[in-house]
């Protein structure tokens, strides 16, 4: 069943495969995001309640969704690395962590900047907000651990174990935070309900969301390649690759 995957477990093959799909991601991102941003900022209608501040939505929600999605991807990779000893899987753990952290940070910053005008405060200890903050901590832990090792191979494995422990904890954390907050009923904030969204709001959101996904794909490709070559420094194919690529650059 896994036979078809086999060639891609080879670092060289997957490096070249990544090389091939990278530009597609790049162009898709560029197109989608430029359309999406212009649409979101200029053409999408203002919300009848929140006014123009609603435009934050178009960044906030995609990045909030992606922050969780990337963690799921990272944990899957970590599982593959641990169970099947996939060497490439822990390269993708190292590659994905910083991307996820950036999107989590964006969700937090945009959320805070949205909260100030809407709720009158930058921060409340609401369940969703808190769990997003903890998610950021988890990401930063994985990144810090990954960077603390000098040996890339070890770094990726260790970070993978942490990511995996984190993913077991993530639902527990999410559940606990939600539960904690409903129990300590305090300054609860009326959240924006989820009204069936108008199409003219939905389309720019879709463009932005897909654009962000494309961006994640593009950056993942770059980072993955970096990780792969730095783990295979001693292999002839990397050496050939590096020499080929550097000569023309030096000639310029």
């Amino acid at each position: 069943m896994w036979k078809w995957l086999h060639p891609y477990a080879n670092p060289e093959v997957s490096y070249h495969f990544t090389d091939k799909i990278k530009p597609w991601f790049g162009w898709a991102t560029f197109l989608l995001l430029s359309i999406g941003f212009v649409w979101a900022l200029l053409f999408a209608p203002a919300d009848y309640q929140q006014g123009e501040s609603f435009r934050i939505f178009y960044i906030h929600v995609p990045s909030a969704i992606l922050s969780a999605g990337i963690y799921a991807g990272m944990a899957t990779a970590a599982l593959c690395s641990l169970v099947w000893q996939f060497k490439l899987a822990d390269a993708s753990v190292s590659a994905l962590a910083p991307i996820g952290a950036i999107f989590t940070a964006i969700a937090l910053v945009t959320g805070a900047a949205w909260g100030k005008p809407m709720w009158g405060t930058w921060w409340v200890w609401d369940a969703r907000l808190t769990s997003e903050l903890i998610l950021l901590f988890l990401y930063l832990g994985v990144i810090a651990l990954n960077n603390a090792f000098d040996d890339k191979q070890m770094a990726g494995k260790a970070a993978g174990i942490l990511a995996l422990v984190g993913v077991i904890n993530l639902p527990i954390i999410k559940y606990s935070v939600e539960w904690w907050n409903t129990l300590h009923q305090g300054a609860t904030v009326s959240k924006l309900g989820a009204p069936a969204m108008a199409a003219e709001m939905y389309w720019p959101f879709l463009f932005c969301f897909l654009g962000f996904i494309g961006l994640v794909g593009y950056v993942t490709c770059i980072r993955f390649q970096t990780e792969v070559i730095s783990r295979n420094k001693m292999r002839p194919w990397v050496r050939a690759l590096v020499c080929d690529n550097n000569q023309p650059e030096e000639a310029k």
Binding site: L82, I134, L140, A158, I161, I168, S176, W179
Partner: protein, 229 residues
């Protein structure tokens, strides 16, 4: 010719005994962890002010945050000493499975940091004016919660054992993972203070306990293998 295979139980008790001997090399040191908790908890009334109501309200949080931090304080040494003097290496190449070793280390750690906390908890509760109906909840959450702290903490300690600088990194890794225990435990105590049933929270902590009891020793073993290369 090959050495007699040791039973798992024997190995476990050997390692446990060694760790406890090291900790109790001097008898009077047994008291130190207790004193430490008392001092830490005393800091809060000093920093926050002596009003009974405020203190009672924040007491569960304070006791639990203190125990989180106290666990953290001792985690750094959990595997590092063994790593530095080569004992860890010896464990890695011993015929006994690694999880026995990690389980024994974690148990010793709990006996040295978790247990003392449970013992002084009543005293702390008095100092912080915790309502009486919460005492039992405090005791039970500590009983099931502190081992979870040791188990999860050990994973972090194992991951950072090979890193020379360490220090804050361990805290960064471990503290976020402690949050569920903190939340459920404090909420159990709060619920108890309102004389409501707190069985739900306790059940979750107990589930966490059994979950980490079974999974953590293996995770720690894997982490140790990775980080000692």
């Amino acid at each position: 010719m090959s050495a007699t295979a040791l039973s798992y139980r024997k190995t476990f008790s050997l390692i446990l005994k060694r760790d406890l001997t090291i900790a109790f090399r001097h008898k009077d040191e047994m008291l130190n962890p207790l004193l430490f908790f008392i001092i830490v908890v005393t800091l809060f009334p000093l920093g926050i002010g002596p009003e009974t109501n405020t203190l009672a309200k924040i007491a569960p949080g304070i006791i639990w945050v203190s125990s989180l931090l106290a666990t953290l304080l001792s985690l750094d040494r959990l595997f590092k000493a063994d790593h530095n003097d080569g004992s860890l290496e010896q464990m890695l190449i011993s015929p006994q499975p690694l999880f026995i070793f990690t389980l024994a280390k974690i148990c010793a750690h709990w006996l040295l940091t978790g247990l003392p906390l449970i013992l002084v908890a009543p005293l702390l509760a008095v100092l912080l004016h915790l309502p009486e109906q919460s005492y039992q909840a405090l005791f039970l959450t500590l009983l099931f919660g502190t081992p979870v702290l040791s188990f999860i903490g050990a994973i972090g300690a194992a991951l950072t054992v090979g890193i020379k600088k360490g220090g804050v990194l361990l805290s960064l890794i471990v503290l976020p993972l402690y949050i569920p225990v903190l939340i459920f435990a404090t909420s159990a105590i709060d619920t108890a203070s309102m004389s409501l049933p707190y069985g739900g929270q306790l059940a979750i902590i107990a589930a966490l306990f059994f979950g980490t009891l079974t999974l953590a020793p293996f995770a720690v073993g894997a982490a140790l293998k990775v980080s000692t290369n």
